[in-house]
């Protein structure tokens, strides 16, 4: 995805609505879909609201973006997406634990566990989108957050290792390692369904 031109960002900083609209239109789909993939399993009804809140945060702090630091604008925005989504999940997790300590025996996220071994689902090329969503969503939601972010940004937003490292504030080697572990974990889980 090509980046937002600097002059548009400058005009948006000044409050120019047309520039702001251009940025929102450019980023709405990738941001919405990334939020959906990161938290849609647990907070499906909040995806739209969460995405709007992230946009608000971005424009409130637009003055902090400095292209001279070598970070693309879209990469800078994805850092907000990651932080906001996981802060929200952490908050909901803590609320869930404090409100109902008996709900989860492991104290883990309140999400349905993955399909047990021996499930008899057999995929075919005619799998419906809903079925694919259910299978992949269940597998992705079980990933640790750092692996999930790396995987979603790499596979679905085509960020390269350097950009993901900037979003996650780690080294490229760490990104590769997380990606590899994420893929192995996902393949194992999908293999259990005889995929």
């Amino acid at each position: 995805m090509h980046d937002v031109p600097e002059q548009i960002i400058e005009r948006a900083r000044a409050g120019d609505e047309s520039a702001v609209r251009a940025i929102v239109e450019h980023l709405q789909v990738p941001m919405y879909q990334t939020v959906h993939r990161l938290i849609g399993g647990r907070l499906a009804n909040d995806v739209e609201d969460v995405t709007q809140e992230i946009f608000l945060k971005v424009f409130r702090t637009l003055d902090r973006f400095d292209p001279r630091r070598g970070v693309r604008f879209t990469t800078w925005v994805y850092a907000y997406v990651k932080n906001h989504c996981f802060d929200l999940l952490k908050k909901r997790r803590l609320n869930a634990i404090s409100l109902d300590a008996e709900a989860s025996s492991t104290g883990d996220d309140m999400q349905p566990r993955f399909e047990p071994e021996g499930a008899t689902l057999q995929p075919s090329d005619q799998m419906s989108a809903a079925e694919i969503d259910r299978l992949v969503r269940a597998a992705v939601d079980e990933l640790p957050e750092d692996q999930r972010v790396a995987f979603v940004l790499r596979e679905y937003q085509d960020l390269d290792y350097r950009e993901i490292a900037q979003v996650m504030e780690c080294s490229e080697g760490t990104v590769k390692s997380r990606l590899h572990r994420a893929r192995e974990a996902l393949r194992q889980r999908l293999r259990r369904l005889k995929v």
Binding site: A14, G15, E17, V29, H36, R37, E48, T51, D133, V195
Partner: protein, 269 residues
């Protein structure tokens, strides 16, 4: 080989010849060897063949091969143990190939890695299964934002005061220019336009509306609002409505209610 005493149709000779072709004498079973020796006692040709086979056998068995060196032995032992380690190596090779393919970079090692995955039975099976899983992951659908999403974001930005129709400095410059122009007219006493006798409530309210709704409210509207009894007489909320988006969202209505409350409460910012 002399064949005078051999009859090509002699079954005994045929059997003897077959036996000697198939195996060395030492490898023949007792029965066959006994029959062969018995036949050779009366058949010089087969006896000669038998003797020749024995000599060849002895020669080949006498061929000595040096014992493997300790390094070779170590390699053999390592090769036997490699099965467990090979799995880890295979996994690393597959991982390296994956990264190389995903990076789409030209790497001379890619060909070697591909060849390994294609020829290693373990890797080939794992690679094939992984591809099926990868296809499923790539096919994971994601919804697009609902209709009106962009307008909803912009409405929230406006309510937060993060959005202006024109840059703030420009608006202030226009307001200052308008004030200077009005002051000049009043001083010159043209009498065309009555000077405002009260604080510019209308101007402030229109500015207030501009902040809330952005858009393209022109400066002339600001000037007209200075003279409610004159050229243009309209309430600030009516101005906002004229300039509102064609399908205002929830943010617009919330902001509109606030403007009305402010105007009713005399909030002049």
């Amino acid at each position: 080989m002399a064949t005078e005493s051999r009859s090509p149709l002699d079954p005994a000779c045929s059997r003897a010849s077959t036996a000697l072709i198939a195996a060395f004498p030492r490898d023949l079973d007792r029965e066959t060897l006994a029959a062969l020796e018995s036949h050779c006692a009366s058949c010089s040709t087969c006896a000669a063949e038998f003797a020749q086979a024995r000599d060849q056998e002895l020669l080949l068995r006498a061929w000595s091969v040096p014992a493997p060196s300790s390094r070779s032995t170590d390699r053999f032992v390592a090769a036997i143990a490699i099965d467990g380690a090979q799995r880890a190596v295979c996994a690393r090779k597959r991982e390296a190939l994956e990264h190389a393919l995903r990076d789409e970079r030209f790497d001379p090692q890619v060909a070697a890695l591909r060849a390994h995955v294609a020829t290693c039975a373990h890797c080939a099976e794992a690679w094939s299964t992984d591809h099926v899983a990868d296809r499923l992951l790539r096919a994971w659908p994601a919804p697009t934002p609902p209709h009106g999403f962009v307008d909803a974001v912009l409405a929230r930005l406006r309510v937060s005061g993060l959005l202006h129709g024109a840059p703030l400095r420009m608006r202030m410059a226009w307001a200052a220019a308008a004030a200077i122009l009005l002051g000049t007219f009043a001083w010159l006493g043209f009498g065309v336009l009555p000077a405002p006798t009260s604080p510019p409530v209308a101007v402030v309210d229109v500015e207030h509306a501009i902040d809330r709704f952005g858009g393209d409210v022109h400066v002339v509207n600001v000037m007209n609002a200075q003279f409610p009894a004159g050229i243009g007489s309209f309430a600030p909320t009516a101005v906002a409505l004229e300039r509102a988006p064609s399908q205002p969202g929830a943010g617009f209505h919330r902001a509109l209610r606030k403007v009305r409350r402010d105007a009713a409460g005399g909030d002049q910012r």
